[in-house]
């Protein structure tokens, strides 16, 4: 639906993205720059989950696995094969996508809770593999729980800001494309009635796989960038299920299967936990939990989703 509202939102989105490009030049405080980077980072990651689960309704409970694979590919390629950062970054995305293809073919046949369990199990399995591989085979590859230290980049926060911004931009552009394309109508049809979609000519398996791989590719990029940024990774950190939970909650809070959902949800939650976290160090997690519960009770379809339903608006 190429409505007027959609075009206004796209123009706003492009303007904001262009404006963000100049932020490191204006922001003096490293803290503020880092905070803005974190917001953009989470918008992108939540967006990755939204591409797959938000639009198809297949609840992926292991997206963090592709984030972790990206981190590890980057770390190993840079330390063991002395690859430069950008080729290594690209390789991370591609390998994540390849793994997604291999894993997606069997798991995307599963539905509902079974799909969630399978993806969750795969993420946990990858964590265990990276933890135990070296000890089992007496090699030094993943370096188990010792983790891998990446080469110190020497780059400042602005560099990573400029790494993350384009990836998030591409993730959101993919959303816009989904909203207005054959691919997107296929995804939404699957969410509403999969058999109905199939008998209307939608190649459901192929389309789900495409969404899954796209999501994994971008997650791999994010994982690689973060690994290089914090320079030290361990399996329990990069495969942490909490990242998955955060992606899910941010998207749910913003609105699943909407363009604005991940943007609103991730921005809201990142800023909220930052502002509460600095003021109420001991209680802020309880407070955030309560706020999330209230928000979901009042707005079961998320902020954007509920707005669309209540106001009977048609926008992305």
């Amino acid at each position: 639906m190429n409505s007027k509202a959609d075009r206004i939102i796209l123009i706003l989105f492009l303007l904001v993205s262009a404006g963000l490009f100049f932020v490191p030049g204006f922001v003096e405080s490293e803290y503020v720059l880092r905070l803005i980077t974190m917001v953009i980072f989470w918008v992108g990651i939540a967006g990755c989950w939204n591409i797959m689960s938000g639009y198809t309704g297949y609840i992926d409970f292991g997206p963090v696995v592709y984030f972790g694979i990206g981190s590890y590919v980057n770390a190993i390629a840079m330390t063991k094969y002395s690859l430069a950062f950008f080729p290594s970054l690209f390789l991370s995305g591609v390998l994540s996508a390849v793994v997604a293809l291999i894993i997606g073919i069997p798991t995307l046949r599963l539905k509902g809770a079974y799909f969630a369990i399978a993806t969750f199990a795969f993420a946990e399995a990858m964590k265990q593999i990276t933890l135990e591989f070296d000890r089992t085979f007496k090699v030094s590859f993943f370096q188990g729980s010792d983790g891998i230290t990446l080469p110190i980049s020497g780059y400042d926060n602005a560099f990573f800001f400029y790494c993350i911004l384009p990836v998030t931009f591409l993730v959101m552009l993919t959303h816009y494309f989904i909203e207005h394309s054959k691919f997107g109508y296929g995804l939404k049809a699957i969410k509403e009635a999969e058999i109905g979609a199939e008998i209307s000519g939608v190649n459901t398996t192929a389309i789900k796989l495409r969404a899954y791989i796209t999501s994994a590719f971008f997650l791999g990029l994010f994982g690689a960038i973060e690994a290089y940024w914090i320079t030290y990774i361990t399996p329990s950190e990069v495969f942490n299920v909490q990242k998955t939970v955060q992606m899910v909650i941010m998207t749910l809070l913003g609105g699943m299967g909407t363009f604005l959902g991940p943007i609103v949800g991730a921005t809201f939650l990142t800023l909220l936990s930052e502002s509460l976290g600095t003021r109420f160090v001991e209680y802020y997690l309880i407070m955030i939990g309560a706020i999330i519960i209230v928000a979901i009770l009042i707005m079961p379809s998320g902020i954007i989703g509920t707005l669309k339903i209540r106001k009977r608006l048609r926008f992305i």
Partner: protein
């Protein structure tokens, strides 16, 4: 030969034979009625033909190509589509977008072309007034027509309609029949499963009757409704008073 040919289709669920050795063919431009009591296997047979179920044995030929066990989306793209008894609109999409999915994915059209095709189909089934409404906010007769529109937009030449008139009042049935005839006149062939005898009799060129998964009669409408087996299994009494439209 163009059209649809089913050769000795059987579908077993464990010990239960839902469909037993059913053979029939559908000629181009023909409307084939399918009748039978509840549980006779009509919907199961449809699901086998359209690829949702893989028949235990038997072959299905679409325009002479063997499509047995093919995935539904492939069968759809080869020119056969189904409307479901239990309506499955894409709820959060508008009526227009629902039909657009068929045009984009079934007929594999580009966006601009697909939109034009969608408009044409919606005109044909009289849905234009509902175009921008959400598909769960329109009345039942319109939803039935929406299913029909989605199937038509997918470019199918053969339409399987599974109780597409269920829940309609007599006036609405007349309207629906007019639309079906228009569709047939545009060169499509249809298989119509229906319990409303007035509708089936009024529209079918031929009728086949199923009972307990097996075909018990086939022929012109008057022959089938006067067939002893059909009367015993399904109709209960002779439809002598029935007015054939």
């Amino acid at each position: 030969m163009t059209g649809l040919k089913c050769d000795k289709i059987s579908m077993k669920f464990g010990a239960l034979s839902a469909v037993q050795m059913v053979s029939f063919s559908l000629n181009p431009g023909e409307i084939l009625g399918m009748i039978g009591p509840n549980g006779a296997g009509k919907t199961t047979l449809f699901n086998c033909i359209i690829g949702i179920l893989k028949p235990t044995s038997g072959k299905i030929y679409l325009n002479d190509a063997d499509v047995t066990g093919m995935k539904p989306h492939k069968i759809c793209r080869m020119g056969m589509a189904k409307t479901s008894q239990i309506m499955q609109p894409f709820m959060t999409m508008t009526v227009f977008e629902n039909v657009l999915v068929g045009a984009l994915h079934g007929a594999q059209l580009k966006m601009g072309q697909a939109r034009r095709e969608t408009e044409k189909v919606m005109e044909l089934v009289q849905l234009t007034e509902h175009a921008d409404k959400l598909s769960n906010s329109i009345p039942v007769p319109a939803r039935r027509r929406l299913e029909l529109a989605r199937a038509l937009a997918s470019g199918a030449n053969i339409l399987l309609l599974d109780e597409n008139m269920a829940g309609l009042n007599p006036h609405e049935i007349d309207e629906a029949l007019k639309i079906l005839k228009k569709i047939r006149d545009s060169g499509k062939s249809l298989i119509v499963v229906e319990h409303i005898m007035r509708a089936v009799m009024g529209i079918s060129d031929r009728i086949i009757a199923l009972n307990y998964g097996a075909k018990i009669a086939e022929g012109f409408p008057e022959e089938v409704v006067n067939n002893e087996a059909v009367i015993k299994a399904y109709l209960g009494e002779k439809l002598s008073s029935l007015k054939v439209a």
